[in-house]
């Protein structure tokens, strides 16, 4: 919660730290005339002390009111709300792909260290270097324009059509994260496999299957859950690139557009929402970790 509070101050304060008039920024790059500036000042209460205007902005934000965009001439919350579904769908799609593929590959690589492990390690090392926008180019070239299996651009309408449209973006977005989750999972599982309490289990004649389930996966689930959560949170940032690359009209694309047009009201609102998403996901992960590990129960309290 503290994190979110500080983050909101930083996001709001960002426009005050650069030299010059914040009002100029809010007008959004267009040539400011004095009257417009004064109007903006009044609208955003910029003549009030910083804390006062910040609190006003924050209390609005909590109610879902982020003010009005000067570039789009419509309420920021409406702009966001109309695009949120697409983005959430994309993130959820990618997240499911990442967790299933990443954790699966990671466990496989650790458990069958000799054969699958080597291949998976090599593959994930390369995958980790493949950014979303590069994968987007390759996917479009191969699956869309090349094979024609998937649409090139757009988000589609209706659930199945949307999912079909979002498949390439989701996989492009998921690609390097799969590798990341797989590598962390592999390391966590391998650490447990080599741990002394697993030796004890072997020495007591516990069957391999049970060792894997009760002692290895159970104990490795903490770090795996943590990276998975972090990854999902990170996806909210990554959508900016994926949406831009595939011409999808989501929150991420809106963020990029507004940044290019220096429409601060929108940038502030979206960053706050994304950071909030990150914090919430991480809090959930910490909560789960506390349930999973009796030793963490005390630590998670803070």
């Amino acid at each position: 919660m503290t994190t979110l509070g500080v983050a909101s101050v930083v996001i709001y304060g960002a426009m005050f730290i650069v030299p010059g008039d914040p009002a100029t920024l809010l007008v959004g790059g267009s040539k400011p005339n004095p009257e417009a500036l004064a109007a903006v000042r009044r609208q955003f209460h910029l003549d009030d002390p910083f804390w006062q205007s910040y609190l006003r902005w924050l209390s609005g934000a909590v109610r879902g009111d982020f003010g009005v965009s000067l570039v789009y001439r419509s309420p920021v919350s409406d702009l966001i709300a109309s695009r949120a579904l697409t983005t959430i769908l994309l993130v959820a799609y990618a997240a499911i792909v990442i967790v299933i593929a990443g954790v699966g590959l990671g466990v496989l690589a650790a458990w069958k260290e000799k054969r699958a492990g080597v291949v998976i390690t090599m593959a994930t090392t390369v995958m980790m270097g493949a950014p979303t926008f590069v994968m987007a180019v390759i996917f479009v070239a191969v699956f869309a324009t090349g094979l024609g299996w998937f649409p090139v651009f757009g988000a589609g309408s209706g659930l199945t059509d949307r999912l079909w449209h979002l498949t390439l973006p989701a996989f492009a977005l998921a690609f390097s994260w799969i590798a990341y989750v797989a590598q962390v999972t592999r390391a966590a599982v391998r650490d447990e496999i080599r741990s002394e309490h697993v030796d004890t289990a072997h020495a007591r004649g516990v069957p391999e299957r049970l060792i894997l389930r009760r002692h290895v996966l159970r104990n490795a689930s903490g770090p795996i859950l943590t990276v998975s959560g972090l990854t999902v949170a990170g996806l909210f940032a990554g959508t900016a690139v994926a949406e831009q690359a595939f011409g999808i009209n989501g929150i991420g694309a809106l963020l990029v557009e507004s940044a290019a047009k220096q429409d601060l009201a929108i940038v502030q609102a979206i960053s706050l929402v994304l950071v909030a998403a990150f914090v919430v996901v991480n809090m959930l992960v910490d909560l789960c970790n506390a349930l999973l590990d009796p030793r963490a129960a005390g630590r998670a309290a803070r």
Binding site: T200, A203, G205, V206, P207, R214, R218, L292, P294
Partner: protein
């Protein structure tokens, strides 16, 4: 009569960090009879723990093993997975040095104990509960029900080691392997834990292979002691015959180097140099680099174990030692420097 556990010319090599293999055990032969307690004593790196790991088939991946280990006549290295698991689950119990690392931290004490009992497959849940409570009380844990619901981090090291002992005994094994079970504990706790192990072992007529670096501790609970140095057993003796005239120079050196209550010397007698690792041993006697009475032959030829009254000693000059020694315990080596 065949021994319960019979280790015959065991040799173990491990893959080295860089390339090739490193010998960690050269030649270990040791029998443990049913109901007998044998101590395996050595300094760090002597290969004593690796010997127990070889017996339990817990060697690291890539390890190469030769020689034979038999339990009740059955070859352990030759067991298939099923048989190995069955054997581990029912006929042998192991106590490790560091209970905190060796018990799964995210599972309760109850989970840990029940896991072992239920593997046996012969007991109903209520019988299992009965046996566990009984064992918990036997190792001196009073508040059984509360303890079963606790996690390892809520228990002290001494208590956790008692849990480990109880766990090792739940399936009523015939052999107990104890790998430095008290090294991580305070002296007073050590005495308790050792007493518990000794008492329960005698009550049940269990055989035990007891690994430690402390000769006196081994002698207190074992009938026979094998002393290891650099991957080989240099001496095997009845516990009460250790350090007597026919003892190996290394054993004598160890006994003399250890300060002892009730005996203050101006200077302790020392063994020169440092303990070497098994892979550093050349063709000769492993102890040749430190032995006070080393001869040319020692550096060239590895001594075979020789029968002496009470046991076997691997030294070329065992007769000479016998003749030279008048008093027990202290070899004259340290004094003539």
């Amino acid at each position: 009569m065949s021994a319960l556990l019979s280790i015959d010319r065991l040799r173990v090599e491990l893959p080295a960090a860089k390339k090739g293999m490193r010998t960690v055990i050269h030649d270990v032969s040791l029998d443990v009879q049913a109901g007998e307690a044998v101590g395996l004593v050595g300094e760090s790196g002597s290969g004593k723990s690796m010997t127990t790991r070889a017996v339990m088939r817990l060697l690291p991946e890539g390890a190469r093993l030769s020689g034979e280990i038999r339990f009740d006549g059955i070859s352990i290295p030759g067991m298939d997975r099923r048989a190995l698991r069955r054997w581990r689950a029912t006929r042998v119990g192991m106590i490790f040095q560091d209970p905190r690392a060796h018990i799964n931290p995210v599972r309760t004490i109850g989970d840990f104990l029940f896991e072992g009992v239920m593997l046996d497959g012969r007991l109903s849940t209520s019988q299992a509960r009965e046996r566990i409570s009984h064992l918990m009380r036997a190792v001196g844990i009073a508040d059984v029900d509360r303890r079963l619901n606790q996690y390892p981090h809520e228990l002290s090291g001494g208590l956790l080691q008692r849990v480990m002992i109880a766990a090792a005994l739940t399936t009523e094994p015939e052999l107990l392997l104890a790998d430095e079970p008290t090294t991580a504990l305070d002296v007073t706790t050590q005495e308790e834990v050792i007493a518990i192990i000794d008492e329960l072992r005698r009550e049940r007529g269990l055989a035990m292979l007891f690994i430690t670096h402390d000769l006196d501790l081994a002698a207190a609970v074992c009938g026979r002691i094998a002393v290891m140095y650099a991957g080989s057993i240099v001496e095997e003796q009845k516990a009460d015959a250790l350090g007597l005239a026919t003892s190996h120079p290394y054993t004598k050196g160890l006994l003399a180097a250890r300060p002892e209550l009730g005996r203050r010397e101006r200077r302790l007698q020392t063994i020169e140099g440092r303990p070497i690792s098994a892979f550093e041993v050349g063709d000769g006697c492993a102890f040749a680099t430190r032995c006070p009475r080393v001869r040319d032959r020692c550096r060239q030829e590895r001594p075979a174990p020789t029968q002496v009254p009470g046991g076997r000693v691997a030294c070329h000059f065992i007769d000479f030692i016998d003749a030279a020694a008048g008093s027990p315990a202290v070899g004259s080596g340290g004094g003539t420097r």
